[in-house]
Amino acid sequence: MDYFAGVTDALRVTFVQMMLISFIAMGIFVVGMYINLKKWGMGSTGYGAAPSKSIMAFPKMLMYQMSEHAHVHNQSVLETFVLDILFQRRILRRSPLRWFMHFTIFVGWMVLFAMSGAMFAVEMIHLIGEKVGYAHDLPWFMIPETFRELLSVPNDVFSYILLIGIIIAIYRRLFVAKVREATIAYDSILLIGLTLITISGFVADGIRTGRLWGLGIDSELAPPMALFHVVISLLFCIAYIPFSKYIHVIAIPLALLANKGGE
């Protein structure tokens, strides 16, 4: 099988390679989350109760806390989800600059992730359509090349939004003394990974389209660059989540839900 969302044969990366890497990344993620759930499940399902040592302890305790009456804030799950998880108002209350940095990274990342997922879905639907024979019945925007073109501008916009956040994060880590002094490898790895993924994405796209970020690199190198971008994206942003600071993308929303948005 030789399928890829590129526009020319020269830009293709084999479908099998991509799927294999994706499944490996997902597999590592699932194993990692299982280990984390086991670790969290070493706790109890009630204050002062004996450790449960069951993988169900965490979901049980989470549901209990979410349904418990809070003494100070007793806000709804919806309010927590919209204002604290999506809008991240707790960060805004403390530091508008840090909120802007984190929000641009969050929005940029999530939208690019969603668009990548949508692109993958369109390609799969079209690929299966070609095999089964319904491809010609698909609406015009479900043609991979057309869909890719539709996503082109939002891709650029949200990539730059993400880049702005990353630049602020790097600046803080390097030039704000308090932040620099408190930085440990746990923090650095997250930012280095994020930077590597974002820059490699810009460069891969630049080589493919021959635009600024291509840095004059031969277009023949587009497929390996794209593959590199995809591999590190999958490894850092899926496989590595349970074992690193990336876990905060899962744990913080859960903590906010458990504590009804926090004190």
Partner: protein
């Protein structure tokens, strides 16, 4: 060869708390606001962020991927002992939880860490170890005869045998700061409110045991909470009033957890009760208290259970009082330094935090620093004396209320 056992256990942690350790984004807000980190000269070990990081590492070394593959990594006893010292250098004021961008319930994590370390044989810290024996034996932490809780009340104090309203005095007000207990009783009497008290049947609320991680040992805290609940029910009371923030917090939050049941009565801080009466116009003021007064929010009354306005409403209603606020108030209030067992365990640290809070009050040019907790009053008074700010009076809101109602407290007996 037998597989090495993990150096730490997960005893006393809930599954959500273990997850919360992974949700710290290390933003550092908690470090900026922590009163003991500040008062210690910025000892890095006391930074809340650092404590979360260390216990997370202990968890990963004991139960993470590497531990699953190659066995748990040993954590040295020195490291754990140092961690214990650091986790007890915290007043459990909750400022770190308020500013935490991840919404981590840090106070309960510190308490769980302490309980875990007590069970492991490392905790508690210094003199805090005596709480268990004292409360178990004397029913109060002051080694006082429990009969002395209310038998010193002057004869004019009228306490019903049974009543809908019960005043839970608390060990500190009944045995050490009797002016507060007397003021509360006389205010209620003067307002014509029939109330009862537990007297010698009152047992320590358990706050000292809970905050220092000793609540589960021999189930003393649980048994005491249940006895207090049963004794209150036996008095036929529907509303329980508190003039002590620590007892109020313990009753409202900890008793239901310890006993596993909702309380069969309503608990109110005395300032909440008085605010209602003021709004109904049922308090007759007789004297003017011509002082510039500021108010310190006790952590256990404010951040822990959200009572911020009632004490202010009472102060603002008192004739003559010019009420001024300090810079850090309500959710962002700076702790007095007494809580979490720090006053008993690390008095110098408690004094350092209190001195900073007194300086906050001095910056307002107030004549009087008020609070609604006898423990805060004690530590703030010590802080004031430590920095030599003799001109600043420290007094409880209820004592000021009594004064404005024309109540004489000069017959308060010595402790």
């Amino acid at each position: 060869m037998a597989k090495r056992e993990p150096s730490i256990t997960t005893e006393n942690f809930t599954a959500v708390q273990l997850m919360e350790l992974d949700s710290c984004s290390r933003c550092g807000e908690c470090v900026e606001w922590c009163p003991t980190y500040d008062a210690s000269g910025q000892d890095p070990g006391l930074a809340p962020r650092d404590k979360i990081l260390r216990w997370r590492e202990y968890m990963n070394q004991s139960y993470g991927l590497r531990a699953k593959l190659f066995g748990p990594k040993e954590i040295s006893e020195d490291d754990i002992e140092q961690f214990k010292n650091d986790v007890y250098g915290c007043t459990t004021c909750g400022m770190c939880a308020t500013v935490c961008e991840s919404g981590i319930n840090t106070v309960e994590i510190w308490e769980s860490m302490r309980a875990n370390l007590v069970k492991r044989g490392n905790g508690p810290f210094g003199k805090q170890g005596a709480f268990l024996k004292l409360i178990g034996e004397y029913k109060n932490p002051y080694m006082a005869d429990n009969k002395d809780r209310t038998n010193w009340f002057p004869e004019d104090i009228k306490i019903e045998d049974k009543a809908e309203i019960l005043y839970f005095g608390g060990c500190t007000a009944e045995l050490r700061q009797r002016k507060l207990a007397l003021a509360t009783a006389r205010v209620l009497n003067k307002l014509g409110i029939k109330f009862t008290m537990l007297g010698e049947d009152e047992i320590c609320c358990g706050s000292a045991l809970i905050r220092t991680g000793q609540y589960y040992i021999n189930d003393i805290a649980k048994e005491n909470a249940q006895k207090n609940v049963d004794n209150i029910v036996a008095k036929g009371s529907k509303i329980v009033l508190y003039a002590c923030a620590g007892c109020f917090r313990a009753s409202k939050v900890d008793w239901p957890r310890l006993t596993g049941k909702e309380l069969p009565f309503k608990v109110m801080h005395i300032t909440e009760y008085l605010q209602d009466l003021i709004e109904k116009g049922e308090i007759q003021w007789e004297k003017s208290v011509d002082k510039k007064v500021t108010y310190h929010d006790p952590c256990h009354l404010g951040r822990h259970v959200g009572v911020f306005e009632p004490p202010r409403a009472v102060l603002e209603a008192i004739p003559g009082i010019e009420f001024v606020e300090m810079d850090r108030i309500k959710e962002n209030q700076r702790c007095c330094g007494a809580g979490g067992g720090v006053k008993a365990g690390i008095p110098d640290l408690a004094l350092g935090v209190a001195s900073t809070r007194v300086e906050d009050a001095l910056a307002t040019n107030a004549d009087l620093l008020s609070s609604a907790c006898p423990f805060c009053k004690r530590n703030l008074s010590d802080g004031r004396d430590a920095i030599g700010a003799k001109e600043l009076e420290v007094e409880d809101v209820i004592v000021l209320t009594a004064e404005a109602m024309g109540i004489d407290l000069s017959d308060t007996p010595d402790e």
